[in-house]
Structure formats: C-alpha cells, structure tokens
C-alpha cells in the first residue's frame, strides 16, 4: 500500500451489533453489509443506519475472500461485494455466486461462479437487437447473435461487502440469458429499468491464478450455458474434410482417365456336371502383363440359369512360378412367388488382384458346377490396370470418420448444454456467429 493519494478505505462500527465493518470503495458504496450480524447498512448515512436485518443466518463463504485483489479483465480489481442469487426451476433451487470487483479508475466488474463454472462480466451500454420467433428468441449485439437460453426470477439470498447500489436480501429481478458460447448476454429487469451485461466464460484455474488463491479451483460440474464446446474446431475439421475429399476426387478422376484397362486375355469354356475342381483343371494360353506393377481384373461370366459355378484360379508367372490364388463363385437364381418375380445373385463375378508385377502369365483354372445340373458355358476375361472404385470408397469412409465422430460428440455436448435451458426439446445446432 502506498501512502499517497485520497484514501478510499474506511472503517465503521455496525449500529446493530457493534462489530467492525470495513469499506473499500470510498464514496461509491451505497449499502454495506455487517460481516458479523449480516445487517444491511446505509453507507451514505453518517450513522450507518440499519436498512435491513437478516433473521436467517445462512452463511456462505466466498471462494475469493472480500478485499482480495487480482489482475483480471485488463486491470487490477479488488473484491468488495459478494452475493448469492437463486432461481427456482420446477421446484428446484439453483444458486450462483456473484463477486463485485472494483478499481477506483476503471470502475466495476463482476465475476460469477456456478458449480465451478466461472464468468467474467461487464455491463453493456448498447441496446441489443431483439428478435422473437416462434421457437427461439435471439438478441444481437456487436454482430454476435445470442440465442435465448433461460428466463427466471433471480432472488438475492445472501449478501456480503459493499455495493454502489441499493442491495437487500430478497431483492428479485427478472433475468433472461442468451448464449453464444463462450459469451452470454443477460438482461436483468426491475420495476425501474433493464440492465444488460455480457459474460465471458473463463476457466476456474485462471481465476485462481489472477487472485493468487491457495490450492486449486474446484472442478466444474456438468456443462454450463455458455461453456465453450471442446469440439469447437469441428468447422475446421469439416473444411479439411472437404479439401481432402476434393483431392481424393481429383485422384479418382485422374485414375479413371489414366487407367489403361487393357484386355490381355479372354476365353470361353464349358464346365460339365461332374466337373469338380482339380480333376477338370486346365491352364490357359500365356498372356503378357505390361507396364509397371499394377492390378489385374479377373471376370467370370457364365450362362447361369438357376445354377452356380465355382472356379479356383491361380495366376502363375511363367518365368518365376510365383502363383496368386483366388477362389470365385457366381450363382444366379430366379423365380416367382406370391410377392411376384424374384432373382438372387448375378451371372458374373469380378475379382481384383492387386500389385501384379509385369511379365508373362497364365491362368490355372479349376471349375466346379452342380453335379446334377446342366453344363455351364462361361467366359474368363483378364484386364490389366483397371481403376478400383472400392479403394476410393474406403478412403472416403476413412476420411469421413473423424468429422462424423466428432460431430456426433459435439451434438451430444450441445444437447447436454440445452438440457438445462428453457428449450430442452428444441433441436439445437452448434452453429453460432461467434465462431472465428
């Protein structure tokens, strides 16, 4: 404390109980509360006339003791007043704490706390633009649209310290909250006037640091009206998705255009009943797979007629003997019943063999058909370097996964937030103008 300047602090004795009352805000104080008997005193009266005595001795200990100074909201502020305010929703009381902060040059600010959720609050002088719609009402201020969250009567249930306005236990205002996380706009209406204030959500740790409080801030319980969503970056994630999707689409189109789709083998064969794989296996004429290592498309198409064909293939490199085996099946059934015509399966099957190096190859083919059915005529076609849409489909799904998962979690967070509002059942989108 420096010794120079006009003093602001002064002491008095409570006319009700005689205890010492300390005042910190000079002539700004209109009312002060005796810390001992909780009487509300007229700070402007030379005798500190008692304005209200409090029967109910419910005591609440402020988490930031009166007189504590901290560096917060752009300046040094001292806690000079504290009140507990209560709303009743569906028979349940909810109370929050309000700290009045003072700097003799910068004026008054507020801090509020509800179950570990803190807000830094300033008075708003502008008149927000109100819009009332059927489902939701909004208030617009400084280009930010706030959505109506809750309306309630807020009653002052406990006061300590001094205030630059008339304060009494039992004072009631009509409070309306509008949210645009991390901000909240509140209107408090009395018989005389409506006062607007703007809150900004701050972490309890920041309050602890600002006021150098011992220990650590109590953990926040639940989700608060204007608590910023931890999924706030979801918009950027979707933007990244769009960019990656465009890149993927360009790759897909590029592949579609550049793929050679070169047919290197085609042959027609017949599998008779009794063909049972190995016993009727044969090899095809050799064919050349050119270019760089790339995929091979193997198509089996049969004249299936309520029948099936199963083929064991081996793609064998003539020079190295390296063999890639695939087993494929095609089946086609059709008929009609009470629901009309039906069909199942298809007459052809398509397999992709990935990463086949160039070279001379042949196929070993071991067909099998129903032992008691008809002979099946089938065609085998081999194409080199065919684009595989499946690959892009899988890539797209993998790309979609993170933003979709996070969007689901963000929606769950928003639904938790709005559960506590007057609009628990309205569909809430996470869009807000305050983002970025």
């Amino acid at each position: 404390m420096t010794g120079s300047g006009t003093p602001l602090a002064r002491g008095l004795n409570c006319p009700n109980c005689g205890s010492a009352v300390e005042l910190r805000a000079g002539e700004h104080a209109l009312t002060a509360v005796c810390p001992s008997c909780l009487s509300v005193l007229d700070a402007k009266d030379p005798n500190f006339r008692v304005l209200q005595t409090v029967e109910e001795k419910m005591r609440v200990k402020p988490r930031i003791p009166l007189g504590t100074r901290g560096t917060i909201m752009g300046g040094t502020y001292q806690v000079i007043g504290f009140q507990v305010r209560t709303i009743v929703v569906e028979g349940v009381s909810y109370s929050w704490h309000e700290y009045l902060l003072f700097n003799p040059y910068r004026g008054f600010r507020y801090l509020t706390e509800y179950q570990g959720h803190w807000n830094a609050v300033v008075t708003v002088h502008a008149v927000p633009t109100m819009q009332k719609q059927v489902v939701l009402s909004t208030a617009k201020l400084d280009g930010i649209t706030y959505r109506h969250f809750q309306s309630a009567s807020a009653r002052t249930t406990f006061v300590l310290g001094e205030f630059p306005w008339q304060v009494r236990t039992g004072d009631t205002v009509e409070a309306q909250d509008y949210v645009a996380p991390p901000r909240l706009l509140s209107a408090e209406t009395t018989a005389d006037e409506t006062t607007w204030s703007r809150s900004e959500y701050i972490a309890g740790d920041e309050v602890w640091k600002a006021f150098k409080l011992p220990g650590s801030a109590p953990p926040a319980v639940g989700i608060f009206a204007n608590q910023p969503s931890p999924y706030g970056g979801i918009g950027r994630l979707w933007k990244a998705f769009v960019l990656l999707f465009i890149a993927l689409a360009v790759m897909f189109l590029g592949r579609e255009v550049s793929a050679r789709r070169e047919q290197v083998f085609s042959g027609q064969f017949v599998a008779r009943p009794g063909a049972n794989g190995d016993s009727t296996a044969f090899v095809t004429a050799p064919f050349e797979l050119k270019g760089h290592t790339s995929n091979v498309e193997l198509t089996t198409a049969g004249d299936l007629n309520n029948s099936w064909i199963f083929v064991d293939y081996a793609l064998i490199n003539e020079e190295t003997g390296v063999s890639t085996e695939v087993a494929r099946e095609a089946s086609y059934y059709y008929g009609s019943d009470s629901d009309g015509n039906w069909s199942e399966g298809g007459k052809s099957d398509r397999a992709m063999i990935p990463s086949v190096p160039p070279g001379r190859y042949f196929l070993r083919v071991a067909p099998e058909v129903a032992p008691d059915g008809q002979a099946v005529t089938y065609n085998i076609r081999v194409r080199r370097d065919v684009p595989n849409a499946l690959f892009f489909g899988v890539a797209l799904l993998l790309l979609l996964l993170p933003p979709v998962m996070l969007s689901i979690r963000a929606a769950a967070f928003e639904s938790q937030r709005w559960k506590e509002s007057d609009h628990a059942f309205s569909i809430s989108s996470s869009s807000d103008d305050s983002d970025e």
């Binding site: 404390m1 300047g5 006009t6 209109l30 300046g75 502008a126």
Partner: protein
C-alpha cells in the same frame, strides 16, 4: 488558449480562466458563483459545498480522446433519487467544448449538438420507444428528473437559480447515447458514447491511496 485573469467581486481573489468563453465560474476561494457580463464578473450566489466523492477526475485533468487533447475546466454534480453523477466540462485544444460524464466510474464522452426541429413531444418519448436522428436509431432508456447538487469551475451556461432538470436518456445499438436536457424549451440535445478508462489517456487525475496508477 487564452487565460484572462479577473478578480472575484466577492473576495478579491484572482480568477484565472482556463477557457476564454466560460459563461459561469465558481471562485475557488470563497465559492461565489460568478457570471460573466461583458468584461465584468457578477456575483449571482454562493455555491453549495460539493459532497466528498470518489471520482478520479478533477479540474485540470487532461486527456486525449480519439486524437483530440482536452482539459477538464468545470463540473456539474447532478443528483437524482437513486444517486448522482458528474458531468465534467472539458475544452478541446481547438476551443470546442464537451462533456465527460462519470457515473460510478462508468465514463461517457458527449457534446452538444443543435436540437433537431422534428423532435418528438416529451410524452412520445416513453421508455422503449424508438427515435431516429440523422439515420441513427436510438431507444429511450430512462426518464430522469435530476437537480444541480453542486458546481465548480467554468461552465458554458448558467446553472444558478435552476432546480429540476428533466432528462431523457436514449441508447443506440452500438454503445452510443443521446441525452435530451429539458431544463429549457426547446431542450438541449447531447450525443455521445460510452468509453473505457484506457480510451481517455488521462493525466493529472486524482490518485487514491493504495491504488497506484501504473
């Protein structure tokens, strides 16, 4: 800025004017309210003692707002049923006059503008009503009857022998305000905006014990 000097007709103390166009001043020694008539200073009454207050602004406080330097030369303390506020009269370096209001350390800068001809009647300016001036929208916020609780320093008009001052305060959507002072008819219109302490770049302010400025 000229600083003409005269002598208090009551106590003979030298009166130094900070503003050459001052209409009224208060002798800082004997608190006599003096009004200028041509070159003479006329005693019109005695100013009440100003109650102790905790405003950091004082006569001769200097500041700079939006690039314009100003000097505080006078003050009116208004009082109404729920408290009071200061209107500090200030002079910009170009000689223009303006006001810095201080209500519980909430600050606003304003200046007088010509009263528009199409002013609504007082009864049409009910709380919540919208008014448009020069394309700017204002909403009537409060109607207050205040009175002069005290004066000091140099003012652009006479306050002596005036009592109740009906005010209508209007707010805009962007933090500006308008005040209609209905102590005369037609009323005087002031336009202004709310400001923060740091916006004012004040020097020579009143310092408070235990609250260093830096």
């Amino acid at each position: 800025m000229t600083q003409p000097t005269a002598n208090c007709p009551n106590c003979g103390a030298p009166i130094t004017f900070l503003w050459s166009s001052a209409v009224q001043t208060v002798c800082p020694f004997c608190r006599t309210v003096l009004v200028r008539h041509d070159v003479n200073l006329l005693k019109v009454g005695e100013a009440a003692d100003l109650p102790v207050d905790s405003s950091p602004i004082q006569i001769r406080t200097e500041g700079k707002y939006k690039g314009r330097n100003f000097l505080v030369v006078g003050r009116i303390l208004y009082e109404y049923e729920r408290g009071g506020w200061n209107e500090w009269h200030l002079i910009y370096s170009d000689g223009e006059s303006g006001w810095l209001s201080d209500a519980q350390a909430e600050y606003a800068m304003s200046h007088r503008v010509p009263t528009p001809g199409n002013l609504p009647a007082p009864n049409d300016l009910k709380v919540g009503n919208d008014v448009e001036w020069n394309g700017n929208h204002y909403t009537v916020a409060t109607r207050t009857v205040a009175h002069y609780r005290g004066v000091e320093g140099e003012l652009p008009f006479e306050t002596w022998d005036k009592s109740d001052v009906p005010f209508i305060d209007l707010r805009s959507r962007d933090g500006r305000f308008a005040t209609l002072d209905w102590s005369d008819t037609p009323p005087t219109l002031y336009l202004g905006e709310f400001v923060e302490w740091d916006d004012l770049n004040l020097t020579n302010v009143r310092e408070f014990e235990g609250w260093p400025l830096r």
